[in-house]
Amino acid sequence: MTPTRPAADGLSVLDRPNSYIGKTVPRPNLDRLLQGRGQYVSDLELPRMAHVVFLRSPYAHARIAAIDADGARRMPGVIAVVTGRELEAVITPWVGVLAHLKGLKSAPQSAIAIDRVCWQGEAIAAVVATSRAIAEDAMEQIAVDYEELEAVTDMRTALDPTTPVIHGSLGDNLAFERTHNAGDVDRAFFESDTVVEAEFVFGRHTGVTLEPRAVVADWNAAEARLTIYQGTQAPHMVQNIAALHLGLKEAQVRVVCKDVGGSFGIKVHIYADEMATYALSKLLRRPVKFVADRVESFNTDIHARDHRCKGRIAVKRDGTITAFEIDDLTGIGPYSMYPRTSAIEANQVVNLVGGPYVTQNYRARTRVVFQNKNVMCQYRAVGHPIACSVTEGLVDLAAAKIGMDPAEIRRRNLIADDAYPCASPSGMRFERLSHHASLAKLLQMMNYDALRAEQAASRVRNIHRGIGVASFIEVTNPSAAFYGVGGAKISSQDGVAVRLDAQGSVICQTSITEQGQGSESLTAQIVGSVLGVSMERVRVILGDTDNTPYGGGTWASRGAGIGGEAALQAAKVLRGNILDVAAAILQSKPAELDIVSDSIVNTSDGAQRIELSELARIVYFRPDTLPPGIQPELMATRHFVPRQYPFAFTNGVQASWLEVDTQTGFVKLLKHWVVEDCGTIINPQLVDEQIRGGVVQGLGAALFEKCIYDERGQLTNANMADYLVPMSGEMPDIEIGHVVTPTLETELGAKGAGEAGTAGAAAAVANAVNDALRPFGAIITEIPLTPQVILTALGRI
């Protein structure tokens, strides 16, 4: 797993003595977190800090006729009750559209609803008090006069002429539509031997972070500066948006983001209640804290998926896939989310369906509609689970129809490992993927043939087990193509500054952020390896717009690939600078020296010449002893952004082995395998745990998780008892293997790994369930695969 990127001298900058690359080293932040010294916003206390709670609409769609908050205002400890109308003076509304998503429309959204609420859970007033409990007490005293309006809830009828239009000014409930047509689809279908079609239905679900969304906004009137402490994935984006809507310059806003208790894409957006909190701090001239409770998290954290996608596949008798066609529909709530928009998931579905396969015949349509439910937006593996489930579901159905083994049909259709570079019919460009190597490795890891034999043997005993395979591609390391080109001020580049301090320790400031995936660790590993210093000496600072270079943050599987490359390049420059000084001190040449284990050594014989601490001492305290003309620069900064490819695609394949109790409809997951190719692996344990965590979220989608709305737009399971997250008791062992194809666009060679697990897990499970149920003739293309769904498909109830 050691990357083998030859540099000019035959050795890569990473392939050095005592390199940390490819090694499982403990994360530097582990002790801090385990000893309870994490700095979570939920725990933050500031002098004079007030707490805000939001009175939220119980209706999915209603006109606000009157708000009577006099009683609440008079309660002891209550500082203010603020309505949308009052807050409007401090913060401007926004519209969640981007120019490159052509035709995408949305309506202006306010920090707090004015006149009308559009989903159950939308805030209609803020209660600010000296404690959260007092604020909640006061909230109960506010009387609101609502006139309930008809709610648009079913995405299938949202575009019907008889359905009310949620935002009259938009003309209809269609937020976005995209069609794509490549190759000759009609002819491919006409000339195929078999056509299979199905409708795939995906439940609406959400991210359920352990620490809910949390923000403390602190307007300092004396400095005319707002400090925002927030659990976010993108501090500079928050800075930009907050400044924009509060009428401030970015320099007047500092965003600090220390530890974050999980994010999964939930915390990469700008939420109305967070905007309201910034504005309240400015209005009230004191720190204001908002921490979502679990019920409001379910009602306001973005939801995701919730697609209905019709798919068709054309195959020849020999298994050749000749075309894919999809017609996708999704409902995103009443507003397109800001600033990344709610069209991205559907857009990704169009981009990704059929992606692993050779066929160039592909037709797609997606429609994104408004409805009176909570907002939907990007959540881990955006669009991928849908594209993968549709593609892989169709491939399995086709294989079953022509009587071909699911592994064999993939072998015959996956893009050959030597066909790169190439592009998908949707125009996605692939630098280098390894579908066949990955599949071969997976089949070997799972002992596929033996498993098939076991499956057949257990059928005789009335035990119904299934095998499901799902190949996938994954968007990582996005360039400006993702958001920047559409006009969003979301940086796709990242920067890292590295400096050597007076005792030879290294401080490293990076613009990527840490939400548990190990950004801190991988940065220290890269910097330590490139510099030749031990990791204990490297301290990584992230999450502070005042104190890190400007950059995108951590999302879309970009931290390691982009931020890691910036760290590598910065460390390389610093290394060169250090060696220049060392050569001057030692009257040698930089090329004859190296840094190994915190010391300057001779390249020739490895003999130690001078400790870094000694070098630093001379530089900082006795520069008088250096030769004239030398100005040491023991700090270096580099930025990086991918330019050659819009995305560094990764690939992989997953398999599920499970048992269906055909009497009860319960599914028992027996085992799960993943083979993944994320290029250079910096820390195998971090990568494997990212994949495992992602798989678990995918398994949650497959079997458990669903936001259940009733026909009036009420979310009926907004609590941890009724919304079923996957728990360890139900999770199988997840075995992970790797194929390593580094990207050539960077010296590091790393692509993203954070979302791959989520991309394919549900598809593998759904295929396995259908494989198990094959003797019963039941086919299910809906997730979550609940006992109710399975028993119904089996005709038992």
């Binding site: 909640e136 019920v295 009926t716 079923l724 609940t786 006992p787 028993l791 089996l794």
Partner: protein, 293 residues
């Protein structure tokens, strides 16, 4: 999600707890393990004026055998049931059931008295009490009342307890020699409340049931001691008679609709459980034919 303000009183004795209950009546709530009460208060589904904490009352904690009866104090925690040798010996059904109640952290705090007083129809322990023919012992201003488990549960979260009474203990007849038991439930995840469950105890003689008690739960508003058991006692069970019993069982159930399952699904699963239970207790796997569908 912060509870509304409430007053807190720590009872020093059962008598003191009863005095406090007498004063505050239905404005008060007894606090045992807090595993059901506190979430309800934090969600503001319940806002008692006073919380009466009885956790210090050692007299309410413990498991003892008295003659033919196993006495379990109301404050005995789930984890204590799980670990008790007496429970394993004299009420093995309870031992089998308790590991299905929630998760270790909750079992470390939750109490049997709290579980029975809470009376969630999907709960394991109330069904076990009904199956085991337990007596629920309660104390109030007028002294002690002894209520048969079959009379104790009145509906969803409803029991025969009045607001000024305290559940102090349960008494279980110790399992007769030669008895066997069966416990199974269907839950989406380990530790979840059941979609349907069955707690059964039987005496099997010469391959037939000399006695059989079937306590179904999550099939109605309270645990159900199925009358259909009577059809299976003292007869040689055949696939046909079992199918007949399964059909009759369905008539007895009044399951509700919720997000985990429709009434039809609950009826179906109850039948599956009946077949599995009878097949297991009689050690005749062939009876579980899968014909329930």
């Amino acid at each position: 999600m912060k509870a509304a303000a409430f007053a807190y009183a720590r009872a020093t004795s059962v008598v003191n707890a009863l005095e406090l209950l007498a004063v505050h009546g239905d404005k008060a709530k007894v606090l045992s393990g807090g595993q059901s009460l506190m979430p309800a208060m934090n969600l503001r589904l319940l806002s008692p004026d006073v919380v009466i904490d009885i956790c210090d009352l050692a007299e309410l904690r413990g498991i003892v055998v008295k003659g033919n009866v196993l006495v379990i104090g109301a404050l005995t925690r789930h984890v204590d049931l799980q670990r008790s040798a007496d429970v394993a010996t004299y009420a093995p059904l309870l031992r089998d059931a308790i590991v299905h109640v929630a998760h270790p952290a909750i079992r470390n705090r939750g109490t049997i008295g709290g579980s029975l007083a809470h009376a969630d129809p999907a709960s394991e322990l109330p069904a076990c009490m009904v199956t085991l023919d337990a007596t629920i012992v309660v104390r109030g201003p007028g002294g002690e009342r002894r209520i048969a488990a079959t009379e104790f549960f009145k509906g969803i979260y409803e029991t025969a307890l009045s607001p000024d009474e305290l559940l102090v203990a349960v008494e279980l007849p110790i399992a007769p020699a030669g008895s066997t038991c069966f416990f199974q439930e269907f839950a989406r995840r380990h530790g979840d409340y059941a979609i349907v469950g069955l707690a059964a105890q039987a005496v099997v003689k010469d391959g037939t049931f000399a006695n059989l008690r079937l306590g179904f739960f999550a099939v109605g508003d309270r645990p159900l001691l199925a009358a259909v058991a009577g059809k299976l006692i003292d007869v040689f069970v055949t696939p046909a008679s079992l199918a007949e019993a399964a059909a009759a069982l369905v008539e007895e159930l009044d399951p509700h609709e919720d997000q985990q399952g429709s009434p039809a699904m609950r009826r179906h699963l109850a039948k599956v459980l009946l077949l599995r239970c009878v097949a297991a207790l009689l050690a005749r796997p062939e009876l579980d034919t899968g014909a329930a569908g």
